[in-house]
Subunit: 221 residues, 2 copies
């Protein structure tokens, strides 16, 4: 994929050591993983121990916006500007080989390191919430009631620059075709996995004359 954006960083900790052929250095591939995922896992160190929490997010340019309650422990810790590690993993398939050893998974994963910045300024926080909301359901921001000042105060938003990141991708069939195992009368291949969105379920208190809007219907697949 050709792009004019700068390549991904290559620091000690973003260097893919295991299966380096799976590493991607194109920034577009980082965007692709982040834009397709819906939940990231935010890792922080609290009292010397790791804490990993699922968190909603969105991306705008080279900034990842994390969204959570101000009571969320990992968000609280991350808001202090300590180092975080944010990982997004998309599972694409189970790779079944002719030997246990060659079993694997097809996946795309992004790992981002950095210090997150807590967004305090109301207009910037509003913009961050917009990114996170539109990430889940494009068109939703304009369709619903926007936050009051009080709601905005109860929400925590963090900004994490996409400066130090790595992307790893495994795809395709098992790699045991050129081993003696290929002679075994054993089936091998991939079970493709994907996430689907089913028919929307209206809240019980939505009036009958309020239809499912087109920007929501479009998400069903």
């Amino acid at each position: 994929m050709s792009t004019s954006s700068p390549p991904l960083s290559s620091t000690e900790r973003t260097q893919v050591r295991r299966h380096s052929e799976r590493a991607r250095t194109d920034r577009q591939e980082l965007y692709a993983v982040l834009d397709e995922g819906r939940v990231c896992h935010v890792g922080v160190v609290v009292d010397g121990h790791p804490l990993v929490m699922p968190t909603g997010y969105g991306r705008l340019g080279d900034t990842l916006y994390l969204h959570g309650s101000s009571a969320n422990r990992s968000m609280q810790a991350a808001a202090d500007g300590i180092g975080v590690c944010v990982t997004v993993t998309l599972l694409d398939g189970l790779v079944l080989a002719r030997s246990v050893f060659n079993h694997s998974m097809n996946y795309r994963s992004a790992v981002i390191f950095g210090a997150a910045r807590q967004i305090e300024e109301p207009a910037e926080k509003l913009a961050a919430l917009r990114v996170v909301t539109e990430h889940l359901a494009p068109g939703q921001w304009e369709a619903v009631r926007q936050p009051t000042r009080k709601e905005l105060a109860a929400t925590m938003a963090l900004a994490l620059p996409l400066d130090e990141a790595s992307v790893k991708v495994r795809s395709g069939p098992p790699r045991d075709g050129d081993t003696p195992d290929a002679e075994l009368p054993v089936w091998a291949g991939v079970l493709p996995i994907r996430q689907v969105i089913d028919e929307p379920i209206p809240a019980p208190d939505v009036p009958d004359d309020v239809d499912i809007p087109e920007h929501i219907r479009r998400l069903v697949h």
Copy 2:
């Protein structure tokens, strides 16, 4: 759900502080999340910084087995017996409310804290690999070639006791039905999300007379 197994621990760090009504204390619910997930996110502290990596796993009783290469940095760190945090998240839906503030996700997540133990003894390592393999595709262990001594040595398996864990679940419609927002002419509801497994893709070098076995076909849904 009634069960004779001990309830989940309630330590300082497994106490669900945000949305405590979403906390589950039944051990069976921990098993359910772990058994349905396919990838966990393992958090460790390396040089004072958090590192979160997607990892394959399996469960047997009250032990979680983590599987990776001996070159995997988070596995290496975890093998040293330092504290780990292992999180499994199942995304069940997008919760679209009448206000931005009440947007949410339906999910089930399990967070486990503890010190992992590296499994060295070959028979125990073989048993751990069996658990991880059967977790992905039940029946697969007996169907394929089992590991050689050399392959076993190149594989890392860790055991993590399910002693300190929390489970959090959000389900159902948005909670804005009893607010003034309910008067807004805005659609609200849930977009259900699920993972599907599509038709298996045979490896290109599998002979035509080797059919997809029943235990694999059964996974397609």
